[in-house]
Every structure is written in C-alpha cells, then in structure tokens.
C-alpha cells in the first residue's frame, strides 16, 4: 500500500518547533491545495498543539517522505525544523500510527480523547477539499472504529488527567448536582480559564469570576455567561459560593481561614469546596481543619492526576490489542483488492447465481433442452463478465497500485463480494 506518513510531535520536537509547523484551521485548506499541486493525490492533514501529521497517497512513485516534509516546511517557511524532527511511516506502519493517534495512546496525555475528535475533523476537512479518495475513506473508517473501540472497550480515556479537570472531578465526589451549585473562579489566567470552562461544561448552576484586571474577567465572563465580581469585593461574596477555585499569581494568601469561617457561618455550615491551584497558594491551607470545608491544593489534585495516568498506562496493552485486530481486519480487506482473487470472486458469484437459477427453473424445460439452458446461461454470463475481467486484469498490471486497488474495491463493493464472504465467515 502506497501510504506515506510524516509526523512531528511532542517526542520529536520541542514546542517552539511544533509551533513553527502548526497549521491553523484556515491554513489547512490552502495547504491541501498546495499539496495537491505537488503530486499528493489524497490524504489527511492533522495539526494540533502537540503534533502535525500528514498522511498521503502520492500521485507518483517518486514522491518520498522527504519531499512531503519539505512541502510542509516550504509552506510554513520554517527554517529551524529539520528532517530529524520528523517520524516517517510507510504502508502498514502508517495505518498503525494513525490508529495509535486516534486511540490517544500516542498522545502526550495518554488517552486524550480530544485527539479523536481532531482526527475526525481533519478527515472532514480532507473530504470537503476533495482530498479523501476511496482508500483514504476506508483508512479513516477503520481509524474511527479503532478509536471508538478503545474508548468503549477500555478505560484509556477514563479519569481526570489535568489538574483543572481533577478539581472538577473532585467536586463531583462531594456534590451530586452541579446545576444546583454556584462557583467562583479567582484569577482568569490560563489555569483559571480552563477550570471555569470545565465547570461551565459540567453545567454549574451559576458561575462568577474575579480578576485583578477587570477587563480579563469580563472577557471570560462573556464567553462563559458568568458574572463578574470586582476583585476588591470578592471576599464578601465567598459565602454565596459552594465552590471556590483560585488560580492567581498573587504572592500572598488571598483567602484566610477567618474568611472561610465567616463564610461558613453565613452559609449555615453548608459544605464548601476550596480548590487552590495556584503557586504560590492563594488560600490558607489551614482552612482544611474546618469541618464542612474541603480544601485541596495542587499537591492533592496531582495525586488524582497521577493515579489516573497510571490507570490509563495500564490500559495501553488492551488498546494495542484492539489496534492489531483492526489492523489485521483492514489488511485483510486491502489484500482482497488484488486483481486475480477479485476476478475469481466475481466469476464465482455470477456462477453461483446462474447455477441457482438454472437448478430452480430447469424442470420448466423439456429434458432435452435442459443441457442447452446450461450452455446458454453460461454463454450469457461469460459475455457479461468479459469486459469487467479485461479491465480488472489491466488494473492489476498498472503501476499505480492505489488506482488499481480503488477500482477493484469499487467493484467488490458494487457486487458485495467482500462483504458476502465476510458475512459467510461470521
């Protein structure tokens, strides 16, 4: 199979080099056009913060991995990235690599199911730009099936593996229904923003944000439909919130034990969760001594993250087994796209139908005509199959294996030859 793949990722290049070749959504379309102009017939372009990958079927046999890499570097005008920053895959290895990416076992955060969605999006992009042909379709279908199986049959994507998500997971172990709870996020930097987003996604009842720079808080609040509390006043409103997540860069403690004690009194001892995900810490750690207060800092949240990561790592062999199974299935299908077996299967199918009909109807003919019936139907069948057989032989002799596989694949699909055999097996 003439499938080439190149990958620059978190293992092969530091972030500044990955950034240099990162293709934004609005860059992918022009890049695909550029690739098509340069003999890339069909393919898939996947670009995320951790990886940029190109899978392609070249239009001619002279196209190499190096050529694809140079196309990308030329398109992005990247100077510092070298060939050494790329991993290269060919044929079965390329398909296997795509499956590994789709299942998340190749990700920086093992089991990250965000990448599964990104693979789907990249294929949609290829389709919209007329860059996904028959073979790539099948590769993609198999990759998606593999990704789905990994998610449903293993625990590769279970549990929180980021601190901000672990904070949300922990709140769900204390409160049963986040839609009836209110949260306050102190600090709207990157970490605070992610935590606020997670809370919003989980359907928090009401969300408020506060930040030293009011503008930033307002921007985030607008995005998440949250309230803004002026930074100077947030202490007075602590009691109104069931969950407080703090992620500022403040060098001193922002929320003291007394602040929390007072808030708890006003709340009639309704439980409060305090998540301090800042360094240095924003909330006095002594608040953990207060009953009905659940205080957690980065260290405690990291325990959850580490535990979940080890659980996910333990699932990798199961996912690899699924990948091997799907790879074998895919390869079985791909090997059926050879000319000789396809011709034989096609003729067998026609012969089976002819034979069945002759057997069913021969009693309607006089006994001396029954032999003629056999001969005539065989002749009709041979005439119908003559042209397709010649075409299939020609396809087998052509130097473009992808073209020939595509033709044979379409014929198999049209007459249901492959699927018929598979269902017989099952």
């Amino acid at each position: 199979m003439n499938l080439l793949a190149i990958s620059i990722n978190h293992r092969t290049a530091p972030v500044e080099l990955r950034e240099a070749v990162y293709l934004k959504e609005d860059e992918i379309r022009p890049f695909i056009n550029f690739a098509k102009e340069n003999q890339l017939k069909e393919g898939l372009v996947l670009s995320t913060c951790n990886r940029t990958e190109i899978f392609c079927i070249p239009g001619n046999t002279t196209l190499s991995h190096e050529k694809i890499e140079s196309l990308l570097l030329k398109f992005k005008s990247s100077q510092n990235v070298t060939e050494e920053n790329f991993q290269e895959y060919f044929s079965r290895d390329a398909v296997k690599h795509l499956f590994s990416v789709a299942t998340g076992i190749d990700s920086l955060l093992i089991g990250d199911n965000q990448v599964f969605k990104q693979v789907k999006d990249s294929f949609q992009m290829a389709e919209e730009n007329d860059f996904a042909g028959y073979i790539m379709h099948r590769v993609f279908d198999a990759a998606i099936r593999t990704g789905k199986r990994a998610i449903s049959e293993t625990a590769i994507s279970e549990g929180a593996v980021t601190v901000s998500y672990a904070a949300v997971q922990l709140t769900e172990k204390i409160f049963s229904n986040l839609s009836k709870k209110s949260a306050l996020v102190i600090g709207t930097g990157e970490t605070g923003e992610i935590a606020a987003k997670h809370l919003a996604e989980r359907g928090i009842g009401s969300l408020a944000v506060t930040n030293r720079t009011q503008d930033k808080a307002e921007k985030l609040a607008q995005k998440l439909n949250a309230k803004v509390i002026p930074f100077a006043e947030f202490r007075e409103s602590i009691f109104k919130h069931d969950i407080i997540i703090s992620a500022t860069a403040s060098p001193e403690i922002l929320v003291t034990k007394d602040d929390v004690k007072n808030a708890l009194k006003k709340r009639s001892n309704n439980s409060m969760i305090l998540m301090d995900i800042a360094i240095p810490r924003d909330i006095d750690p002594k608040t953990k001594e207060i009953d009905y207060v659940f205080y957690h800092d980065l260290d405690s949240l990291n325990i959850i993250v580490e535990q979940n990561l080890s659980k996910r790592k333990a699932e990798i062999p199961k996912v690899e087994k699924i990948i091997e199974e799907e790879l074998d299935n895919f390869w079985e299908w791909y090997n059926s796209l050879q000319a000789a077996p396809a011709i034989k299967d096609l003729r067998d199918l026609f012969e089976e139908i002819r034979n069945e009909e002759v057997e069913k109807n021969k009693n309607k003919f006089a006994s001396e005509d029954q032999e003629k019936l056999d001969i005539v139907t065989k002749r009709i069948m041979n005439k119908i199959l003559h042209h397709p057989t010649i075409e299939l032989r020609k396809a087998g002799e052509t130097s473009d294996s992808t073209d020939s596989a595509t033709k044979i694949g379409i014929i198999r699909d049209l007459f249901g030859i492959g699927t018929q055999k598979k269902s017989e097996k099952e």
Binding site: L170, E172, K173, I174, F175, S176, N177, S268, N269, N270, S271, K288, D291, Y292, F294, H296, D299, S300, I303, I304, Q307
Partner: protein
C-alpha cells in the same frame, strides 16, 4: 415440606455470602459486565428467601416473627430487599457489599439457631402483633441502612479531607448522595417505628396484664425514636446536615442495637417470648 425448609435454611446464608462476594468483587474491580450478574445473584437470593418465609408460615402455622431468630431472617430479607430497590431506582453502585454483609450475618445467626416451633403463645397469633412487629422491623431495617450509608459517608468524608483517593473514593457515590440515602432510609425507618410504637401503646396494655412503661425495650425504642425525631427535625429546620446528621443516625442505630441486646438477652421483659 419440612426437609425443603431445612435445605433452604442451609442454602440462604451460603447464597447471601455468594451475593456479598460478587458485590465485593465488583466493588474492587468496577467492571461494567458484573452489574447484571450481581443483580441476578441478589434477585435469586431474595426470591428463595421469600419462598422460605412463605413455607415456614404455612408449615408452622405462624409468620416467623415470634422470636429473635425468626425476626433475624425477616431482617435479613428486608435489609437486602430495601437495598435492591435503592439500587434499581437510583442506579447507585458500590454500596451493596456493605449492606448485604449485614443480611448475611443476620441470616447466618438465624439459620444456626432457628427452631421449628409449631406451638407459640396465643398472644403471638394476634394480627395487631403482626403489624406491630413488621412495622418495627421495617423501622430497624431503615435505621440499619441509614447507619451503613452514614458510616460510608464518614469514611468518604475523611478520605476526601485527607487526600486519600483510593477504592472508597473511586467506587462510592458522592457525599451528598450518601447523606440523602442515609436521611431517606432514616425517615422511612422513623415512620415505620412510629407506627410500631402507636400500635404497641394501643395493644400492649390490652394483651399483657403485666405491662409496664418502664420495660427496657420500650425505653430503648422510645430513646431511638427520640434520637431520630431530633435528627430529622433538625435537618428539616435547616440547621443540621452532613457529618453531624450521619453521626446522629449512627448513634441511633447503636442505641437500637444495644437496646435490643439488653431487652432480649439480659433484662427480663414481657417482650421476650422464648
């Protein structure tokens, strides 16, 4: 029929133990495919237990509520049946082994000491006694389940506070759910015990000439009733919640156990019939 009853009597603790083992294994492993298997185990056990009670009632001409070992078998089935309903309605997993183990213990004691009594005191054949005992048992089952959920609440509460994120953290439902389950079980238990006490007050002076309001079991039950009344009222008045409430539930359960032991095994009471 008698030999059938004896066979089921031996089988029941084994079945409760097997159900407990399946539930506990699921608690350790958390595999999705075990969900239905464990429910089948519990269902079969409960079904056989129901047959056992019906057979005993027919064979010995009275429902098995006339002495503590007969009552234990009823407690075993009511506790597990209540849990079965909770699991079906709420789809809450992970708490089963902690409740089914109690059914196992009650059934084991019952199976070991239960006797084939065909003759019981005439007073124990009263319909009012049946209602009194069944509502009291429902009450105590409710308190038992409430205490188990309360106990699980305390363990999870402590684990979260101390950053212990092990099996308990991963398998148990969240604190609010545990608190709610503990409260609802206590409320159901409280209503049932109230009915038992009302019937008792009406019926006891009529049935027992030696009746005394200073009877240890009566004092114990009243104390238990008062504890739960305080807890439930405090909850609904909005002051008590969480840890304080479940501690009260556990205390109520302990008082109930102590009062049962004292009145049944140590003190002389008109409540003891064997």
């Amino acid at each position: 029929m008698i030999s059938g009853i004896h066979t089921i009597n031996i089988l029941l603790p084994i079945l409760y133990l097997a159900t407990f083992v399946v539930y506990f294994y699921d608690f350790l492993k958390g595999e999705k495919k075990l969900v239905n298997i464990k429910r089948v185990f519990l269902f079969i056990t409960l079904f056989l237990h129901l047959i056992y009670i019906v057979l005993r009632t027919i064979a010995f001409d009275h429902p098995p509520i006339t002495n503590v070992f007969e009552i234990f078998t009823i407690l075993a089935i009511t506790i597990s049946f209540s849990y079965f309903l909770v699991e079906l309605v709420s789809d809450i997993r992970g708490t089963g082994p902690f409740i089914i183990i109690l059914s196992f213990i009650f059934q084991l004691i019952s199976s070991l000491y239960i006797q084939d009594l065909t003759e019981v005191k005439e007073v124990l054949r009263s319909n009012l006694l049946g209602t009194h005992v069944i509502s009291a048992l429902l009450g105590y089952s409710g308190f038992t389940i409430s205490a188990v959920y309360g106990f699980l609440y305390l363990i999870l509460y402590k684990d979260i506070k101390l950053n212990k994120f092990g099996l308990i953290f991963n398998r148990l439902p969240n604190l609010e759910v545990l608190e709610r389950l503990s409260l609802y079980s206590a409320v159901i238990g409280f209503i049932a015990l109230t009915i038992a006490i009302i019937i008792g007050i009406i019926w006891l002076p009529v049935a027992f000439p030696k009746f005394s309001y200073l009877d240890p079991k009566l004092i114990g039950s009243t104390l238990v009733w008062l504890l739960y009344a305080i807890g439930i009222t405090s909850k609904y008045l909005g002051n008590w919640r969480g840890k304080r409430l479940v501690l009260l539930s556990i205390s109520g359960f302990l008082v109930a156990i102590i009062s049962t032991i004292l009145s049944n095994f140590i003190a002389q009471s008109f409540h003891s019939f064997y």
